[in-house]
Point group: C2
Chain length 417, copies 2
């Protein structure tokens, strides 16, 4: 089918799923989880076919070992996939929440109500578990999706979505074409142009994928390219805390976007040499090259810079950072407050590891991704980030002319929700 | 100065104004209002220079009479400008609001706090009163702005902003370069490319300006191009209410974006002929041409279409509408609810005129504009739409490794704000 036809039917489905009841959506999610569980052997078998192909590509160097590992589904990943769908069924419905109720005048009441965004375009790389996760998030938030996965996981992706869609077909009242999948590079190009039907693009993958997408579409993109996180060790920082937090932020999962890349140290911090020695003992390689101040290592390498104080630290971060997550280690409350107010990032921490920047750790229950945008949604994004709102106004034949003439006046009284 | 230098210093100013106190911002706003009042003769004089130039252009047909009228400042507009600034001083500060406080674990607390977006690029047409209004909104929401007005109002714009900036210079602690202005077409091109420093573009002007901007930038744009609003008169609508509401929505201010453009009538509505006759008596010209279903007349002309019921009305609106504001006139609650849930527009009304779609009428106190976007802000946008949020996390040396190992568990307890 033509991409544009798929997009059109996704748009239609998005209007149909928009006001589905929470009960029906949760029923659908639980049936989807059961179906994935029941058909896991089919999914493993499709995954083995993909892995066999991928093995050849690893051999000739076309894909690397870590992509191969992300592609591979095992019992643990499968269990997490199924549990993830059930967890999303248990979360609060983000749609149809009253955000405010305001009486504008007698018998004229305004409701601000959360509603889905519409059609999401999801472009992701090797990880086939993204399919079930995004499908579940889309169902819960009443959005339609068009998924485009990596070609390496084509068989796995096709099988997972077909299992999910077969389950949804058996749920009475659940609309068709909510979850759609495309496979070719041309489809990606069409998706990025399709601002008539697609309301939000969510890339799930490495920096270069995200950068390419941001450069090539006018549709809003939710996500982040770089994750250049900083820790500033202030003059008064407790040395043991500084070492513990920096080590965690760099080594607990070095390839994560919320891992620290640059350590800024106050020039009067008395334990500078001890701290650097301890970090090296923790197998962190230190770099002192200004050319790497905007570089994301994704590895156990850390840029180190000496700064004259909190002001220079803030300026460095606002210049070289990516607006993701930064932390100050200090016992000086005034500096901590200044840092958190002046640093222009999604996450500004005080005496905590940057690795906490994560939807599950924040208690959102599920995560769409982490955004470094300055509009719509910022930081770890949960189900709420997949919604917008509409205004419902209920009157009794009210007209504006009566207010323009002064015959009537608005009284703007907020009602409790 | 180079555009990029202006943008850079606006970015710097945006970081400085980000955590200014409410008191200082309000003091600045009141001083600005006083200064505009004190210098209104200078502004009128600059405006007369613009009007003299514009008169020549009207004579040779290069600008039309309505642009000329929008350009002209009189005592009434000046009074409204000054009052508008004072009104914004009285509104709640949208910045630094705690949106939630959640204890993730003992001594590890997450704050979601509203904060400014950063640098706003404002592109507007002939109305010079936009300058003072947007400047006041920017100050209150702690954003920096770069303004580009129409060339017809160059002298007026320059004088107004210079009066405002002179007043701000005298406010101790108020940062420099918060309010900036550029004048050339090249600057617009630079602005639209400048996603490094500009976070949001707000066009204030006609459809073609907004369309041009949306087509030519990757920076998020807040606004709307078309306003193709609909009223659906259901089978059970009270005929007097239908006439009253449709007439208000079409004639109270026909060139407004929230004026109705298409009337959909249920085929079994018994008073169809009477309604159409009454609308014609109200000097509304009726059109029955399907080619105009996505046309914004901006005049006392109304497209009319007969539909088989609420479902066809919803489908028509979701196909031809612009997602702005639509109303159903009915006594059937079930149809009203269906209409409000299924119509995918920023405003969905029941027995009320579409003309209510307005920030002042909604009780926002000030309006940035009306958005038909599906992300960030939708419908009439007040000060809140000029903010985003950041997450502040305050710990005591907390690291993720302790939670990954299972040694510690999150307890995710929401605290009252």
């Amino acid at each position: 089918m033509d991409f544009i036809e798929i997009a059109k039917s996704a748009k239609k489905a998005s209007l149909e799923i928009a006001d589905l009841s929470t009960e029906l959506k949760n029923e659908a999610l639980l049936k989807v989880a059961d179906a994935v569980d029941a058909h896991k052997e089919d999914i493993f078998s499709a995954n083995r076919a993909d892995l066999a192909e991928a093995e050849k590509l690893v051999a000739c160097g076309e894909i690397n070992k870590s992509t191969f590992n992300r592609l591979k589904l095992d019992e643990n990943k499968m269990r997490d996939m199924i549990q993830g769908i059930r967890d999303i069924a248990r979360l609060d419905d983000p749609v149809n929440k009253k955000l405010f109720v305001r009486e504008l005048d007698k018998e004229l009441t305004l409701y601000k109500v959360s509603c889905p965004i519409g059609v999401l375009g999801i472009i992701f790389e090797a990880r086939p578990d993204v399919i079930s996760q995004i499908s579940a998030l889309a169902i819960k938030s009443s959005n339609a999706v068009i998924l485009k996965g990596g070609k390496e996981s084509k068989n796995t992706n096709r099988t997972i979505l077909s299992v999910i869609n077969s389950a949804l077909e058996k749920v009475e009242g659940f609309p068709k074409n909510v979850l759609n999948q495309v496979f070719s590079r041309d489809d990606v190009a069409e998706m990025l142009k399709c601002d008539k039907y697609i309301n939000l693009i969510i890339p799930r993958g490495g920096n270069s994928l995200v950068k390419f997408i941001k450069e090539n579409t006018k549709i809003p993109v939710l996500g982040h390219a770089d994750g250049i996180c900083h820790i500033f060790v202030d003059e008064s920082a407790k040395p043991a805390m500084a070492e513990k937090v920096v080590t965690d932020a760099k080594t607990q999962y070095p390839s994560a976007c919320n891992a620290v890349e640059t350590l800024l140290i106050h020039e009067k911090f008395p334990y500078r040499e001890e701290l650097l020695a301890a970090l090296q003992l923790d197998e962190i390689k230190l770099e002192f090259n200004p050319e790497n101040w905007a570089h994301e290592y994704g590895d156990k390498i850390l840029s180190v810079k000496t700064v004259s104080g909190v002001d220079e630290a803030i300026e460095h971060i606002n210049t070289y950072g990516s607006g993701h997550t930064e932390s100050i280690i200090t016992t000086n409350l005034e500096n901590a407050e200044k840092f958190m107010n002046k640093v222009d990032s999604a996450g500004v921490y005080f005496n905590a590891s940057t690795r906490f920047a994560d939807g599950f750790r924040y208690g959102f229950g599920a995560e769409v991704g982490i955004s470094t945008n300055k509009t719509h949604a910022r930081g770890p994004v949960g189900l709420e980030g997949l919604t917008i709102y509409k205004y419902k106004l209920i009157g009794n034949g009210h007209i504006v002319a009566d207010y323009a003439s002064g015959e009537k006046q608005f009284h703007h009284r907020d009602l409790t929700i």
